[in-house]
Symmetry: C2
Subunit: 374 residues, 2 copies
């Protein structure tokens, strides 16, 4: 028993007799219903560390992790404190998963697709090519099997994952030359990770994996011909407009990338129920707010890129997109044929996607086409 | 001073001396940083009433109000209780605004466009024809001037509004005959409220205002020729497929209707800071969850409507949509010319919409077109 718990017992002994009379007087001007139990709230405090896959304070992503820590502290009235570490401060960016798994930190913030080497199903919880929009993946997460399957996939690692952010639809990337046909993909050296990189490879390109901080120089030196990153908000900050002329749409490979919080299962189990709910729901708030931030900042940054820096916007040709779609299904078939958990997750996602796409086409796509000319 | 506050003082007197040694031991296995203050949380309780504009437990909307009450209770550890009243239980649906304004209830849940008679700017905080998608209005609310302007508009009524739900893009409505040109709008008696109704009127139609519960019979008896309601999820439950053959898209008049929570300003001021944050953030969680629910349920209901009930999907002709767009700008010009607050809100929304539309077209619209054929 902690000293703080002893303190609670002390309170109980002293104040217990007065409790019954206290109840009907509480709440000042707001009428108190009869027979309501007084709130029993542990005042035990928890001091958590958060590791992230983002550079400290990185706009949108790193600041989203900061916001999650702030919300957990605020909503818990300070009963949970969260100290945030940027990538490399406590552990390296891609060591966040292991650090939370072994309890070096109690919570982490990152993207599920970073863990595909450990968990082949992981990318399905962030973004797959031609997959969900942000609103669709949230529907699958919260109102279908998404979060349930995600918990199942991470359970062997002692981790509890929660959706905790979304970048919105990303851009297709920065290119030094125009892409007019599949011929232009052949031999193209492009920084593009995950399933998208595998698709590019099967289309004849050369996918390269590089951390964000090295992309500008790799483009400048000609080590790579093209790179994707996120969208206007983050891409403007990296200055890619100085080293590439064409900015391509759509972000076929990441149409609405979900971010994650991962919580050490033992640390979570030690929290009283109300604090568990606060952690879980703080993640939902960051999920909402991060998408709002990306939507608001992307439109501002897009205007700057086009009007101030003269960036040329281009759309991938239909036959290139068609080929990418076909290859995506091949890549997914390969991943799911060798991993039962990935197969289970894709079965759920595929069925949901098939139906929700019809609704999105009928509603959002139909509306956006009509509004386009207003 | 309440009895409960006295109880806190009692705790302070008894446990005060032990506090310094308590701090470093709390949190069990999680390391406690030095110099952290113990959380000081009021245990005072507040008993709130929530009035709503929805029939009790109405799917999506009424259940969203229930969820908001549940979240406030859970996240506050029971320090706020919220008793939910459906429309007509404590006050009528459209008396919710006044009831919360005068403090009969501490909180309300509804849609801002219901209050346009009192506040001409109100519809801009829910949905206007050819306006924001759900993700766009959230960006304007949280990361631009939206919530700030909303607070300003409701302040004279002693109310603090928060976004608290979204239905997603709605449908264009149920029609007994096909709409092939503007000629088919002339003389059409349609249930469509708000700015959408005004647009229909200027296009030669006859807008009718009726509560949801009367729509089925009005369609069946031929008293009206057409009706909009929400989308597949809610429209299936009302059985409109039995009395109308054609289901039209897009929902040009409500492309992403935001719902609201309104809080009595005095009741809010009486809450300690951490409970104020819990109320504000519980609204954000419902905002996220309600859209996820509508997205998940709409796609299921759409399948049922089309495959089981043989509903015919139709799209409004381009020239009809074009005329509706033009008339929308006329309606908005009239509203804003006579009300300075509406003019201020529209100025903010118009500027944001002009830019964010470009981003949405480049990202989401471009992606949805590419995915459409997958």
């Amino acid at each position: 028993m902690s000293d703080r718990m002893k303190r609670r017992e002390l309170l109980g002994a002293v104040a217990g007799a007065a409790a019954a009379t206290t109840l009907s007087a509480c709440g000042k001007n707001d009428e108190a219903p009869k027979g309501v139990q007084p709130p029993v709230q542990s005042s035990e405090t928890f001091h958590w560390k958060m590791v992230t896959t983002w550079p400290k304070n990185f706009p949108g992503l790193g600041t989203g992790a900061n916001r999650l820590a702030e919300l957990i502290e605020q909503l818990s009235g300070g009963r949970i404190t969260v100290k945030v570490f940027g990538a490399g401060e406590l552990v390296g960016a891609f060591e966040a998963f292991d650090a939370v798994s072994r309890g070096t930190a109690q919570i982490g913030h990152g993207g599920a697709y970073y863990w595909k080497g450990k968990i082949p199903a992981a990318p399905f919880f962030s973004a797959i090519p031609f997959g969900f929009t942000p609103d669709e993946i949230n529907a699958w997460f919260y109102k279908a099997d998404g979060v349930k399957l995600w918990h199942e996939a991470y359970k062997p690692f002692g981790l509890i994952p929660f959706p905790a952010g979304n970048t919105g639809p990303q851009m297709g990337g920065w290119f030094n030359k125009e892409i007019n046909s599949l011929e232009d993909i052949k031999g193209l050296k492009m920084r593009i990770p995950g399933f998208g990189g595998e698709v590019l490879k099967r289309a004849g390109g050369i996918p390269v994996t590089l951390p964000g901080g090295e992309l500008f120089q790799a483009m400048q030196s000609g080590a790579i011909d093209a790179t994707e990153w996120v969208g206007p908000y983050n891409d403007l900050a990296f200055g890619f407009y100085k080293v590439a002329k064409y900015y391509y749409t759509p972000g076929w490979h990441e149409p609405g990338s979900a971010m994650e919080a991962i919580v050490n299962a033992d640390a979570f189990a030690r929290l009283p129920k109300d604090l568990q709910l606060i952690v879980e729901n703080a993640c939902k708030i960051v999920n909402l707010e991060m998408l709002a931030e990306y939507t608001a900042r992307n439109q501002q940054a897009l205007q700057t890129l086009v009007e101030k820096h003269g960036v040329q916007l281009r759309r991938f040709p239909d036959d290139v997109l068609k080929k990418f779609r076909e290859l995506t299904l091949e890549v997914i078939a390969d991943v799911t044929s060798s991993d039962p958990m990935a197969a289970k997750v894709w079965a759920s996602q595929k069925a949901f996607l098939a139906r929700v796409r019809k609704w999105t086409n009928l509603s959002e796509l139909s509306f956006l086409k009509a509004r386009d000319e207003m």
